[in-house]
Amino acid sequence: MKIDIILAGVGGQGILSIAAVIGEAALNQGLFMKQSEVHGMSQRGGDVQSNLRISDQAIYSDLIPTGKADLVLALEPMEALRYLSFLSVDGWLVSNSVPYVNIPNYPEEEKLQESISGFQRKVILDVDSIAREAGSVRAANMVLLGAASPFLQLDYSGLEQAVRHIFGRKGETVVELNLKALSMGKAIAEQVLKP
């Protein structure tokens, strides 16, 4: 078993909290993992990514080779497209649909949609609205993670357990909120996957 994930977003959006949950779930299942992060300059509103690799065999490279990623998981649609070249033949794109516009030359909505719709294996969802429905926009990351869960080859209960552990010290309400967000994201992906 091996799964290579590219997490993408804009500095400050918090892609690393998604990596933390997946990473903990993977370790609890006794798997190997490597996760490279971007710290430093780019965190000031620039594009950021994290390479997350999970396997039942030892992992060598901290970086995923071109054309080998199983999943691009993005909190921002243009950032999702930035890493398309890393996707493998059966790779999936799971992304937030809402643009984060902090540059003057951000592409027009239509052109962006066009680019995304040209790609087949994808789950695109408005994570903020869904999170709001779940109780708070702050759970947006967990909505996205939920939408990615069918592709992760990890037990869903393991993800839930990691959410419980990681958000545990913030109290039971926060845990429940994030679990709900997770399951709402999952439901949407399952809808897309239905034959």
Partner: protein, 533 residues
């Protein structure tokens, strides 16, 4: 023991704690910062009062670590690669004096310049100082090497360099810890001359360093960090240094057909290299950074071009390695199914909305708008360097920490009418104070703007040792009190700021303007942290 999930930086920090350090000395700098931050947040460090406060710069850090070693205790110094330049004086001399308590010098290099102004390779410094260098390929090795480096340092009596790079520093993986060791007792050198590097002593110490080269070589030859993996295909022999080994093996998941010498410890194991060179048609050297090993083995002429790598051109001369680049060096194909769509625009970093540096640049740009080419702004290193980018386009230079003030001075000496320096508070105390003294000494007509946000923001909001003292420092250095002007950088104060900057740039002497407002990003982060506790 359970595996800990640690960044490379954190693995180094945990190893140092387990190896019984009494102090870490460091100035922040990507990708080294998280080493010290890990120790700062460790319970053990707090309980045992292990030194962990930030130093003013890398040189003071190295010197303090030498003081701790002088007193018999183990210390670690951490910095980014360009910090090694700042620490170079004590660093080079520490190899002459040698150490008492184990001293590990961590240099974190940044190939591809993710957050730096160059990609210099610290292994050259290790070789220059003639001390052992350890270079891990993964987080577990980072832990093991850091742990063992203290023993090695004490055994040899010299500092040991641990060289890491961004990718390892900022990547997480499982790490198994070793036994915790107690701190050293206070004790001193038997030789009262050891640390007194008068020429008469230094000559003796240098001979000792030269004599020790043989031991260092022998230890490298036998080191478990230098390993040979046999291969059947002798058309190529591979030398893979540090993290480059991972990119090699990523491409040969079922085992590498060629013999591989994995290098983790320098000086280079001569015998192993010679054997590989003899038995193979061609050597491929994979190293992250400059072509140090390739050049050492190939020599100036590399007759017959037997040694290949970044210099020969099978790998790019600059930039970070990755699995794709290494694949190409072996003629292996990568499958790229999709291109990055054209709609994807670069998203460069920018100053946060509401940042005080923005108000400072708006005012500065307005104040010098009429002067055209007669005014130049010398920048420095920190978040405010982003003032070079649109919409501000405010900077004409940025060289190294502290250079804003001294470059402005030199340009003023050359006849530039309006020479303005923009520097951050942490950078000012790092190495701007001596620059300012040079200007005061000659009363050079420059205007220095210390854009004070009370932290080192670019590297994550570390404390700035000059906080609350900047005016006093400038006055103490001899800047006239009426030309030290404090401002509150807010939109509503724009006109006043423009007026003050105009006044001071027209004053034919040294003036310092201090716009002061806390970094809002750091404030936000602290608020979230305190809400969670």
């Amino acid at each position: 023991m359970n595996k800990l999930l640690l960044l490379g930086d954190e693995a180094v920090a945990q190893a140092a704690l387990d190896a019984g350090i009494s102090g870490v000395y460091a100035y922040p700098g990507t990708p080294s910062t998280e080493i010290t931050e890990y120790i700062q947040s460790s319970d053990k460090a707090q309980k045992e009062n292990i030194h962990r406060a930030w130093s003013a710069n890398e040189k003071t850090a190295m010197e303090a670590a030498m003081g701790m070693s002088f007193a018999g205790k183990r210390s670690m110094v951490c910095m980014k690669h360009v910090g090694v330049n700042v620490a170079a004086d004590p660093f080079m001399n520490s190899a002459i004096s040698g150490i008492v308590g184990g001293l590990v010098f961590v240099a974190a290099d940044d190939p591809s310049m993710h957050s730096s102004q160059n990609e210099q390779d610290s292994r050259f410094y290790g070789r220059f100082a003639m001390i052992p260098v350890l270079e891990p390929s993964n987080q577990q090795e980072a832990y093991d090497m850091a742990y063992q480096a203290f023993e090695l340092s004490e055994k040899l009596g010299f500092p040991v360099m641990l060289r890491i790079t961004t990718r390892l520093a900022h990547s997480r993986s499982g790490v198994i810890r070793r036994e915790e060791r107690a701190q050293n007792e206070l004790h001193f050198s038997d030789d009262p001359r050891q640390f007194v590097l008068l020429p008469v002593n230094a000559r003796q110490r240098y001979k000792r360093l030269l004599a020790a080269q043989q031991d260092m070589q022998a230890i490298s030859e036998a080191s478990s960090f230098n390993t040979f993996l046999p291969g059947k295909d002798m058309s190529k022999g591979i030398i893979a240094c540090g993290i480059a080994y991972n990119y090699l093996m990523e491409n040969f998941q079922d085992g590498c057909p060629y013999p591989v010498l994995k290098i983790g410890q320098y000086p280079l194991p001569k015998e192993a290299v010679a054997q590989l060179l003899e038995s193979c048609d061609q050597l491929v050297v994979l190293e992250e950074g400059y072509p140090l090993v390739e050049e050492m083995i190939g020599g100036l002429l590399n007759v017959g071009n037997k040694v290949t790598g970044r210099l020969s051109g099978i790998l790019p001369r600059d930039g970070e390695l990755n699995p794709d680049i290494v694949a190409a060096a072996f003629g292996l194909k990568t499958t790229k199914l999709y291109e990055k769509p054209e709609v994807v625009m670069p998203r460069p970093p920018a100053l946060c909305q509401g940042c005080g540096h923005r108000d400072m640049y708006d005012a500065l740009n307005a104040a010098i708008a009429d002067y055209g080419e007669r005014a130049k702004v010398f920048g420095d290193i920190g978040c405010y360097t982003l003032g070079y980018l649109p919409p501000f386009r405010a900077l004409h230079a940025c060289l190294d920490m502290g250079a804003s003030i001294t470059m402005a001075k030199g340009a003023a000496d050359a006849g530039l009418e309006y020479a303005v320096a923009v520097i951050g508070d942490s950078t000012f105390t790092h190495s701007g104070m001596t620059s300012l003294l040079d200007a005061v000494y000659e009363n050079t007509p420059i205007t220095v703007i210390i854009s004070d946000n009370e932290v080192a923001a670019m590297t994550g909001g570390q404390d700035s040792p000059g906080s609350g003292r900047l005016e006093a420092i400038c006055a103490g250095l001899g800047v006239e009190p009426e030309h030290i002007r404090s401002l509150l950088p807010l939109k509503k104060n724009h006109d006043e700021m423009v007026r003050v900057i105009k006044e001071e740039i027209n004053y034919p002497g040294v003036s310092v303007i201090i716009p002061r407002r806390a970094c809002i990003h750091t404030l936000k982060r602290k608020k979230t942290a305190s809400n969670e506790n």
